[in-house]
Symmetry: C2
C-alpha cells in the first residue's frame, strides 16, 4: 500500500453525501481495489451544521470552496456543487492551478467551459474526470473514451434526462396532459430549480455535448446543439405514436456527416420495441455506435445518490490507481473545432395538424409535400372536432430542409389551423 | 508523441485479422487517442501464405508463437490463438517472463489458469488485459473493473453465448425442435469445433468465472460453476414458457451469499418483457448489480471480427496510454479463494412432467411438493397424449435443495413418466 489518496469534497448535497458514505462505509474495499486508501481530507458546503445523516466531524472544513480546492492536504478536488460558473468554476480552476486533479459531476460547467478547463489541466499534467456528469451511474464516459477507443464513432444517442422520460412515460400510462404530469413531477421533487434545464432539454444537451466531444475528437460545443424540449408534446401525439408502434423520447443524437457535426436534443419517435422505445420511467440509456463494434447499448440509473456517487467513486479510484487520461480522450490542445451542421441526415417525420373542413384541403397539403420532394408513407384523418379535421402524416425519409420548406408553405395554403407538429422518427 | 507501442499478434483467425485491419486502417485515430503510434512488429499463425484479405508482408513473421512472444521488438503480446493450454498458454507465459504485457481474447485460458498467470504478470510488473474474452465488443470487463469499482457487487448476470441465444430464439420463432435448429446453426458455421463449448454452456461459463473473480475479489474458479447446457430444452418448454410470459435463456448468474459464492450457467426462465427476455438472436447482454449503482445493463455484439477486434484494441490503447491495471481489479496475490456454494438462493421453479393417467396421480405430485415445503403458484394439465398427461407447475420461491428432494421423490410415486424438467425462474 502506498500513501492514501486525499480528496476534498465541495458540495454536500445528495451526491456529495453519497460519496462521503461510500468512502466511510467501504474503506477496505476501496483501498483493496485502488491499491491505496482513499481518505476525505476536508469538505466544503453552504451550511456546516446541517444534518446530513452522515458525520463530517472528522474532516477539515472550508466555507470557501476555492480554499478547499487549494488545501495542501488535498490531492483530488471533488466538485459536486454544480452550476456552469460561479464557485464551481472558480474552485475547479484554482484546484488545477494548485496542482490538483479534479473529479466533477458538473455537466453544465464542462459543456460550456470544458475546452478551456481541459487545456488548463493538461498543460499542467493534471486530469479532469467526469463520469458522473453523464447518465449518472452508467459508465458511459469510460465506455466511449476507452472501450470504444479503437472505433470511428458513427453515432451517439441517448435518453439522458430521467425527469423528461418519467414525464413522457407517465403521460402515456395515465393519459394525462403534459401540464398535469409536469406539476406532479414538480411536487415529487423531480425537477431542477429551473425546470427548463430538464424539460427544455438543456441538461440532457450538456451531456450530449460532452459525449460528442469524446466521440469525434472535437471541442465541446453546447451552443451548436439543436435544442428542443418536451413542452409541446401533447397527449394526442403520444397516443397516436403508440398506435403506430412508436414511443416519444427526448433523444440526443450526435453524428459526424460530410457537412459537419450534427448535434440535436429533441423529442423523437422511436420504435416501441427497440431498446430506447422500451425505456420507461426515470432510467437512462445511451447507445454508442462504432464502425468496428456495431451498436452498444448501456442502461441504468441516470440520477440519485447511489448511482451518481458510484460514478464519482469510479473516477476517484481511477486516479488512485494511477491512471492518467486526457479529459476528452485525446489531448485537448489537439481537439478540432467541429463545423456545426444543421440536421440534414434524412429521416421519416411524423406530422400532425388540423385542417379546416372544406373540400380540397387534404389535396393542398399533399401538394405542398410533393412540391417539397417529400413523399407520404402513411396518412390518416381522424374524426372531426368542431370544424377542424385532425390529420396525421408519416413521411418517407426526407431531409430537414425540405421539411422546413413544407412546414412554411402549409401556412400559405390557408387550410391548416394552428401550428403543425413535426417530430423526427429516429432510426435506432 | 512518444515511441510507438509495438505489438506482436499470435493467431490470425477472424479476430486477429480484424485487429490487423484496424491498426492499418485507423493508424492516425489510434495514435491520436493513444498519445503514441501503435505498430504491428510481427505476427504468427499456422499458415503464413493463407489469403486473409489483408497483407501481412510488412511485419516480422514467426512460425512459433513463443518466439513471437519473446521478440525484442514486441512490447505487447496479443494472444488470439485460443485454447486453455498448448501454444496459447506457453506463449503467454513466455511473454510475461520476457517482460511483455499481454492482451488476450482467451476466456478458456484465463478461466482455468487466470490466477497463476495474473500472479506471474503482477510479480513482474506486467499487465494482462482481456476485454475481448468476455461478451465480445461490450466493454464489460472495463465497466466492472473500473466503472463499478466503488460498489459492493451484489449480482452479475449474463447471456454471453450468442450461439445458444440464437438457437433458443430460432426455436421460438420457427417452432422447430432443438436438434433441427442445432443442425441449422452448425451449417451456418455458428458452432465451435466442439459444439459442447457452446451448447453445453462451457464457453459462457468461462466468461462468467472471469466476471465473478472481478466482482467478488476471488480467485477465478471455473470448476465451481454449476453448469447446464441447453441441449435438453424442448420446444414444448419454450412454448409453455412463452405462454406464461417468459423466455428461456442460457443465463449465467454469480452472486456472493452467506454460504459462499454461487456461480451457475444454466437455462433459466426470465420475464419476456425484461431486458434479458427481450434479447433475441446472437446479441449478448450483461447485467451488473451493485449496492450503490443499482442495475446496469450492457448490450452488444458478443462475437464477430469487428466487435471482438474493437475490444482487443481497447486493451492495446489502454496500455499505450500508460494505464496499468491489475488483471482482476485488485492484486492477484490478495484474491481470496471463494467458498463455492451450491445454489441456495431461493427462486420460483418451472416444472414440467408427464403423469400416468390414473386417479390420484396429481394428488401424489402435490403431496411430494408439499412434503418438501414447496408451495404451488400455478399448475396446469394440458390435453392427454396416449395415456400420459403433461403437467406444468410453477412453484413459489423455493431453494434448490428442497426442489431436489421433490424431484427425487417424484420417482417413488410411480405416477411420473420419464424425467421431470425443472428450470429456475430467475428474478431479473
Amino acid at each position: 500500500m502506498t500513501d492514501p489518496l486525499r480528496i476534498g469534497i465541495a458540495g454536500l448535497g445528495t451526491v456529495g453525501v453519497g460519496v462521503v458514505k461510500i468512502v466511510r462505509q467501504k474503506a477496505n474495499l476501496l483501498a483493496t481495489r485502488s491499491g491505496r486508501p482513499i481518505e476525505i481530507a476536508a469538505v466544503s458546503a453552504r451550511n456546516r451544521d446541517k444534518n446530513r445523516g452522515v458525520s463530517i466531524d472528522g474532516y477539515g472544513w472550508e466555507d470557501d470552496p476555492v480554499k478547499l480546492a487549494t488545501r495542501e492536504d488535498v490531492d483530488v478536488f471533488v466538485e459536486l456543487m454544480g452550476g456552469a460558473d460561479g464557485p464551481a468554476r472558480a474552485a475547479t480552476e484554482a484546484a488545477l492551478r494548485a496542482g490538483k486533479d479534479v473529479v466533477t459531476a458538473n455537466k453544465a460547467m464542462l459543456a460550456i467551459h470544458g475546452q478551456e478547463l481541459a487545456e488548463l489541466a493538461e498543460s499542467r499534467g493534471h486530469v479532469i474526470r467526469f463520469e458522473a456528469a453523464v447518465a449518472g451511474g452508467i459508465p458511459v464516459v469510460k465506455a466511449l473514451t476507452e472501450g470504444l477507443a479503437g472505433n470511428q464513432v458513427t453515432r451517439v444517442m441517448g435518453v439522458m434526462n430521467g425527469t423528461c422520460n418519467y414525464i413522457l412515460t407517465r403521460m402515456e400510462e395515465s393519459g394525462l396532459p403534459y401540464q398535469t404530469v409536469f406539476d406532479e413531477a414538480d411536487k415529487l421533487g423531480y425537477l431542477e430549480a429551473d425546470p427548463n434545464l430538464d424539460v427544455g432539454g438543456i441538461d440532457a444537451g450538456h451531456k450530449l455535448a460532452l459525449l460528442a466531444s469524446i466521440a469525434y475528437g472535437t471541442q465541446v460545443d453546447f451552443g451548436a446543439i439543436e435544442l428542443e424540449g418536451i413542452q409541446k408534446i401533447s397527449i394526442d401525439d403520444i397516443r397516436t405514436a403508440r398506435n403506430m408502434g412508436f414511443r416519444i423520447k427526448l433523444l440526443g443524437v450526435a453524428q459526424m456527416t460530410g457537412r459537419g457535426l450534427e448535434q440535436r436534443m429533441s423529442p423523437c419517435l422511436v420504435p416501441a420495441d427497440s431498446p430506447l422505445g422500451q425505456l420507461q420511467g426515470g432510467t437512462n440509456m445511451v447507445v454508442l455506435e462504432g464502425d468496428s463494434v456495431g451498436q452498444i447499448v448501456l442502461r441504468g440509473a441516470g440520477a440519485g445518490e447511489g448511482p451518481t456517487a458510484s460514478a464519482v467513486l469510479s473516477d476517484i479510484i481511477e486516479i488512485a490507481r494511477g491512471t492518467r487520461l486526457t479529459t476528452f480522450g485525446q489531448p485537448a490542445a489537439g481537439l478540432s473545432r467541429a463545423r456545426p451542421a444543421r440536421t440534414t441526415t434524412p429521416a421519416p417525420y411524423y406530422l400532425r395538424m388540423k385542417l379546416v373542413d372544406k373540400p380540397g384541403a387534404m389535396a393542398k397539403i399533399a401538394t405542398v409535400l410533393g412540391d417539397a420532394g417529400i413523399s407520404i408513407d402513411r396518412m390518416r384523418q381522424t374524426q372531426h372536432e368542431s370544424g377542424a379535421a385532425p390529420v396525421l402524416i408519416v413521411t418517407h425519409r426526407t431531409d430537414r430542409g425540405s421539411l422546413d420548406i413544407a412546414l412554411e408553405n402549409f401556412a400559405a395554403t390557408g387550410v391548416v389551423q394552428g401550428e403543425p407538429v413535426a417530430i423526427r422518427i429516429e432510426d435506432v
